[in-house]
């Protein structure tokens, strides 16, 4: 009985922890802005490609999440793709990559 109570009590706490694995709504907006405008300076504002390749859902189909995550985090040496770890944290990078894999809508 006592044990069950502890488990129940801890559930909401776990929810809070889960929440911190995605950026806040405000931060999500900033990240989408960054994606279109700053990633967009090399990948095109509509992500159709530029100096860097297209980052559309079709273009990324079949590429592993982990590869994309590491690409954004560490960049590709000897290419213009820079490492973003100094500006974005892990949660933000994973969220961005998830958006890319799901396809980013153009407003």
């Amino acid at each position: 009985m006592f044990l069950i109570l502890i488990v129940l009590l801890s559930l909401p706490v776990m929810d809070v922890v889960a929440d911190s694995s995605i950026p806040t709504a405000k931060r999500q907006g900033e990240l989408l802005h960054l994606l279109r405008h700053d990633c967009g300076s090399c990948h095109g504002m509509t992500l159709q490609g530029g100096l860097g390749p297209a980052l559309t859902q079709e273009a990324l189909a079949g590429k592993p999440m982990e590869y994309l995550y590491l690409t954004v985090r560490d960049g590709h040496p000897d290419t213009p793709m820079p490492p973003w770890r100094g500006l974005l944290d892990d949660t933000e990078i994973r969220w961005l990559v998830t958006q890319l894999m799901q396809g980013v809508q153009n407003p």
Binding site: D38, G44, M45, G49, D78
Partner: protein, 390 residues
């Protein structure tokens, strides 16, 4: 008799343009609103917006050149669109989709040809400036002739030539368009890894491509093309750790002051000073971030510099005699581009994330005016009509 003639010609103009007064275009320009596929026609005497033109497609990284009469702007969009705009009417004259993905363009010395450099498919397309009819295609093929390279750093050079660089191939090509439908290409191979942009000195003599993949710059002397491409500053930054480059520097606005050139370093928070008498490194000026544009204020010893993120809220001014930073300004979030008025008394700056153009006085360094513009990026004044390589 004389007043009759004037009346007739005036009414003719009224009919065609809908304008109430005659005006020249020498103080006019366009500002790109990148997110909305729109450009604003502006004037820098009173610092106002004159017209807003929509329907230009994807304008991220858009650039523009001008007809020699300064009336028409040719806008190169990211989605391969080439749009001819009439500044006086504030309207699109013509628009063609010429490739999948383009990066910039140039107008020939005689004003008759427009060249567009393309990423996808890699190459250069040449158009009639009047009709925008396609005249020739130059595929940027390399290796065994099947691969195509992205084309960057396209400029017009004297004597009916266009010069450009091949990013993947590491080559510089000179296209002689004396017979526009049949361009004659001279290829310079192995110029260096990943040329990413280039400039032509204002006298039309030196074409210089910045290299991303290695140190230094590739230079072609167009007075002596037989000497081939040489490398300058080959040892710049050797062995030093590079900082991440969150945005590619631009070379188009390279500042040349007297016998020295001021250029952005790649992967370092420095502006490089090149001595043009022997093409050696004269100094390195520490600055606030990765420089993007390094531009000479036309009427002084100032060079203005903006930066890549996360330092892109700042602009610094360097004195070309002392090589010191003499001013650090904070115009606002994401300063993407700067354009000086032709005689340099003011500078317009795009403050993208604040949706405005900030106009600064270059003597007092104070903001004098601002204009609301949605996500402004490139600013192109009609003065460019009369500059070689712009």
């Amino acid at each position: 008799m004389r007043s009759d003639l004037l009346a007739i010609s005036l009414s003719g103009l009224l009919l065609t343009s809908g304008c109430t007064t005659l005006r020249g275009t020498g103080d006019m320009g366009i500002v790109v609103e990148r997110a909305d596929g729109r450009v604003k026609v502006v004037e820098h005497t009173g610092n106002t917006e004159l017209a807003s033109i929509s329907g230009l497609g994807d304008l991220s990284h858009a650039s523009a050149v001008y007809s020699r009469d300064g009336r028409y702007a040719y806008v190169f969009g990211r989605d391969g669109g080439l749009t001819k705009i009439d500044l006086l009417k504030g309207a699109i004259v013509k628009r063609v989709m010429q490739s999948g993905n383009s990066i910039g363009g140039a107008i020939s010395q005689d004003g008759k040809l427009i060249a567009v450099s393309n990423y996808e498919p890699g190459g250069v397309n040449i158009f009639d400036a009047e009709s925008l009819q396609l005249i020739a295609e130059i595929p940027a093929t390399y290796d065994d002739g099947t691969a195509r390279s992205k084309v960057v750093g396209l400029v017009d050079a004297p004597k009916d030539r266009f010069v450009f660089s091949l990013y993947e191939a590491g080559e510089i090509w000179v296209a002689d368009v004396t017979q526009p439908e049949n361009p004659a290409i001279t290829r310079y191979r192995d110029v260096g890894k990943q040329p990413y942009d280039a400039l032509l000195t204002p006298d039309g003599r030196y074409y210089m491509a910045g290299l991303f993949g290695e140190d230094g710059l590739a230079m072609l002397d167009l007075w002596h093309p037989e000497r081939g491409v040489t490398r300058i500053l080959p040892d710049y930054g050797r062995g030093e750790e590079k900082l991440p480059v969150y945005k590619m520097p631009h070379l188009e606005g390279w500042a040349i002051a007297g016998n020295t050139a001021f250029v952005p370093a790649v992967g370092r928070y420095e502006v490089l000073v090149i001595d043009f008498s022997n093409f050696s490194e004269k100094a390195r000026i520490p600055v606030h971030g990765q420089p993007i544009f390094v531009m000479a204020q036309p009427a002084s010893s100032q060079v203005w510099v903006n930066f890549a993120m996360p330092n892109n809220d700042t602009v610094q001014v360097i004195d070309t005699e002392t090589f010191q930073v003499i001013k650090t300004l904070k115009p606002g979030p994401a300063v993407l581009h700067m354009e000086f008025t032709p005689r340099g008394e003011r500078v317009w700056m795009s403050v993208r994330d604040d949706d405005r153009i900030a106009v600064y006085d270059t003597t007092s360094f104070e903001q004098t005016t601002q204009l609301p513009v949605d996500k402004p990026s490139g600013i192109f004044f009609s003065t460019r009509a009369h500059n070689i390589g712009l």
